[in-house]
Amino acid sequence: MSAITNNAFVRWLGSYGLCVTILGGLFLLTALGTWAQAEEGLYAAQTKYFDSFFLTEHIPIFGKTLVVPLPGAVTLMALLAVNLFVGGFVRIRKNKRTFGVLVIHAGIGLLLLAGLVKREAANEGYVRLYEGEQATEYRSYHDWEVCVRELLPKPDQTGLVSGDEWFVDQVVFLGLEGDEVAMVRHPELPFDLHLRHFVPNARVHSEKSRDSSIYPVVDGYRVVPDPVDPEAERNFAALYAEVVAKGAPKDRRGRAGILAAMERYPFTVDQDGRLFAIELRKRRYSMPFTIEQVKFTMEEHPRTRIPSVYSSDILRKDLGAEEGDSVHISMNRPLREDGLVVFQSGYGPKDAPKGTPLFSIFAVVRNPSDRWPEYSCWVIAAGMLIAFGQRLVGYVNRQKRVLREEVTE
C-alpha cells in the first residue's frame, strides 16, 4: 500500500463512515424531495433535490424560518463514486478471495455511471398522435427552444411551407434578466438574434390592459408574468427577441418582437428577401425513425369512464420510407430501438364523449444508459455469487477437514 493510499484523507475518502453518511444524506434528500413534490410539483422537486449540487432547505421553527444548506444529490452521488473507487478498488486487498467483492463494486460503479450518463446525455419528451398521424420528433415536456424557421413558397405557389430550422436550447436564454442579452447567430442566417427578458410563465396583453408588468411594450403588447406553476409543463414562457444586423453589438436596436409560447402565430421577419418565422416552443428532438399511429385501443371498466387498458398499434418506419413494421405498444411493453424507448403514457382528450376520436400519448426517452442498470444488476449478482460461493466452498472444505480430523482421532 503506497503512502498516498495510506494518507488519512484518502483513508477517510474510502471509509465506511463516509459511505454511511452519504447514504444517510441520500435518504434524507429522498424524504425531503418526496415531501416537497406535493407542494412544489414533480419537476421542481426533482430539480431542487436530485439534479443539484447544493440546495437550501427552509424549515419553519417557532414562527421563524431556519435556512439549512444541504448538498444536492449530484454532490452526494459524486462523493459516493469517489468513496466507492477509493474504498472499493484502490484500498481493498486484491487477491483471489476479494475478487467477488471487486466484481460487486464494479457493478455498483456501473450503476452510478449509468446515472451520470443519463443526467448528462438523456432527454425525454412526448409525442401525441391521432390515428393516421405520424412523427419523426418528440417534444420536451418542459424545456424550451427558440426556433427560426425559413418559410418557403409551396411548389404550386398556393401558400408557404416550413423549410430548414435553426434553433438554440433554453440554456442560452434561461435566467436572462434586466439588460442581459443572449446574442445568437448562424452563418446561414442573414441576421443575428438578440434575446432578452425570459419569463417562465406569462401571457401577452395589450398595453392598454390593466395588468401591471415591468416588461417593455412592443408593437402595443407586452409580457405579463403569471405565477410559475409547480407542474413545469403547464407553464407558458415568453421572451423578447430583436432581429439585428449580423455582428451587431449588444446595444444595437433592430426589429423587436415578443416570442410567447401561447401565441397563435409566430413572429415573422422578412430579411434580404427571405421570410423567417421565429418562435419560442417546446424543445424538439429528432428520432432516427418515424412512428405512425395506426390504431388506438382503449377499454373502460364496466359502467365507468375509468380506462382498464389502452394501447397503440403503430408502424415503425425508416425515415422517408412508406412501409414499416407493425409494433404494438402498451403500458409495460415499450418500443426500444436505437437508444430510444417509446412508452404508451396516456391518451386524450380527457373526458371525451363516446365516439370522439382519441389521440395517443407516447413518452419518449433517449437514454444511452437505458440498459446499464440491468447489466449492473447482472454484474452485482455475479459478484455476489462468486463472493458467497467462495465463502460456501471454504466453509464446506473446513467442515470436511474437521470431520476428517475427528475420524482420524
Binding site: C19, Q134, R149, G163, V172, E263, Y265, G355, T356
Partner: protein, 385 residues
C-alpha cells in the same frame, strides 16, 4: 459492501483539526461561483431540417401582433402546450364576467368554466350535447341525484321556472342539498345548485353553478346576469363565420333558424340536415370520418382505408361520400335513434372543407339519399366553383 482495509491501517491516527467536510470547501466555493455567474451570452444556432410532429407546422406569412396575441386562450393549460391538452380552440362566446368569477381552463365537456369567489368548491360551467326534449328530465334528475333529492317525473316539469339561454327558453332550477357529483369529486355538505337547461333543435345546453349554499345564494344575481349576457357567436370574432351559400333544395325541406356551428340547416322530414363550412381541413378527413363513425358506434378506420370511401364531387372539388347505419347517439352517450343512418359528404375545398350531414331514422335517410346528392352538388359559394 466494502471489503475492510488491512488492520494495520486502521490503527493509524486520524488527522486532527478541521472536520473532514471542510476539506470540500473549495468544491463548494467553485460551485457557488459557477452558479452565480451571469450576464450577456453568445451562442450559435444549430441547424436541422423541417420538423414534423403529428402534422406539419403551419406556415403562415407575416401577421400583426393583434393576430398573434389577441385570441390567445385566457388560461393556457388547455391550449395544446401540455400533452393532455385538447386541440387549440378559438374563443366562441361573449359574456359579461361577474367580478367574483375567475375564468378557468375549458375541458372537452365544459365549453366555459369558471371558479367563483376563488373557492375550489364553487364553480359554474357551460356545456352542450346533442339530445332531444326528453333528455331535459333525465339531466334534471341527474342533478337532483347529485343533491340527494328525489327524482322528478314529467309532471314536475309543468310548473318549473323558466329562463333564457342563448335566446332559447330554458328550465331554471335552484336546489339545495348535500352535493356529490357521483364521479369521485369533492362533496359539499350543504350545497346550492342553480342551473339552466335549454333544448333547441336537437341540442341541449346546460349552464350550471354549484357551490356551498351561502356562496350560491350570494351569486344568484351574478348567475342570472351572466346567463342573460351569454351570446354566441362573437361578432367580428366568430370562430365559425357564416358563409354565403346558394343551393337548390326540395320544397319539402324546411330551412332551420340559424344555429351555432352551421352554415345551413334543414328539417328533412324526421331527419336533420346540416351544412357546415370550416376553415382549413376542419380537423382532418380521417378524424371527422371516425368522429361520425363513432356516433354510430362503428369502429374507426385507418388512414389507408380512406381511399375505400366513395368519392364524390361538389363545388368543383373531389371529396368523399359516407353512408353509415346503426344506433345513432350524436355527441352524447344516449342513443337518439336506435335504427339510425347517416348520409353525408366531406369535401376539401382547399382553404375550406365542406361538411354535409343528414341523420335520422334509417328509412327516412335512405329515402332522401338521392335528393341529398343533388342538393350537395347544387351548393355554391363564391370563390369556389
Amino acid at each position: 459492501m466494502f471489503q475492510p482495509a488491512p488492520p494495520r491501517f486502521q490503527d493509524s491516527p486520524r488527522p486532527s483539526g478541521r472536520p473532514h467536510w471542510a476539506r470540500f470547501g473549495w468544491l463548494t466555493a467553485a460551485c457557488l461561483l459557477a452558479a452565480c455567474s451571469s450576464g450577456d451570452r453568445e451562442a450559435r444556432f444549430e441547424k436541422r431540417g423541417p420538423t414534423f410532429v403529428g402534422k406539419p407546422d403551419s406556415a403562415v406569412g407575416p401577421v400583426s401582433s393583434s393576430q398573434r396575441f389577441d385570441a390567445q386562450p385566457q388560461n393556457p393549460h388547455g391550449a395544446g402546450g401540455a400533452p393532455h391538452g385538447g386541440r387549440p380552440t378559438v374563443e366562441a362566446f361573449v359574456f359579461d364576467l361577474p367580478e367574483t368569477w375567475q375564468r378557468k381552463e375549458r375541458t372537452s365537456m365544459r365549453l366555459l368554466n369558471f371558479q367563483i369567489q376563488e373557492r375550489e368548491d364553487a364553480y359554474c360551467f357551460l356545456s352542450a350535447m346533442e339530445g332531444e326534449q326528453e333528455m331535459v328530465l333525465l339531466n334534471a334528475n341527474r342533478w337532483r341525484r347529485q343533491l340527494g333529492l328525489p327524482e322528478w317525473t314529467q309532471d314536475d316539469l309543468q310548473d318549473v321556472e323558466t329562463g333564457l339561454l342563448f335566446g332559447a327558453p330554458a328550465m331554471r332550477v335552484h336546489w339545495e342539498g348535500p352535493f356529490d357529483d357521483g364521479m369521485g369529486g369533492a362533496t359539499i355538505p350543504e350545497a346550492g345548485l342553480v342551473g339552466l337547461i335549454a333544448h333547441h333543435q336537437s341540442s341541449l345546453v346546460f349552464l350550471k353553478m354549484v357551490g356551498p349554499k351561502e356562496v350560491v345564494d350570494a351569486e344568484v344575481d351574478h348567475f342570472d346576469a351572466f346567463a342573460a349576457s351569454l351570446d354566441f357567436p362573437i361578432a367580428g370574432q366568430d370562430s365559425h363565420p357564416k358563409h354565403q351559400l346558394s343551393f337548390e333544395a326540395p320544397e319539402a325541406w324546411q330551412v332551420q333558424a340559424p344555429r351555432p356551428g352551421r352554415d345551413l340547416g334543414f328539417d328533412v322530414g324526421a331527419c336533420d340536415l346540416s351544412v357546415t363550412m370550416l376553415v382549413g381541413n376542419g380537423g382532418g378527413l380521417l378524424a371527422n370520418v371516425n368522429r361520425w363513425r363513432g356516433q354510430f358506434s362503428l369502429p374507426p378506420i385507418r388512414a389507408n382505408e380512406i381511399n375505400t370511401l366513395e368519392t364524390f364531387e361538389a363545388m368543383g372539388h373531389s371529396g368523399h361520400w359516407l353512408s353509415l347505419e346503426g344506433p345513432y347517439q350524436g355527441m352524447g352517450t344516449q342513443v337518439l335513434e336506435e335504427d339510425g343512418a347517416l348520409e353525408g359528404a366531406i369535401v376539401p375545398l382547399g382553404d375550406h372543407t365542406l361538411f354535409v350531414k343528414l341523420v335520422g331514422p334509417k328509412e327516412a335517410v335512405q329515402n332522401e339519399r338521392d335528393n341529398l346528392r343533388v342538393f350537395t352538388q347544387s351548393l355554391h359559394m363564391e370563390g369556389h366553383e
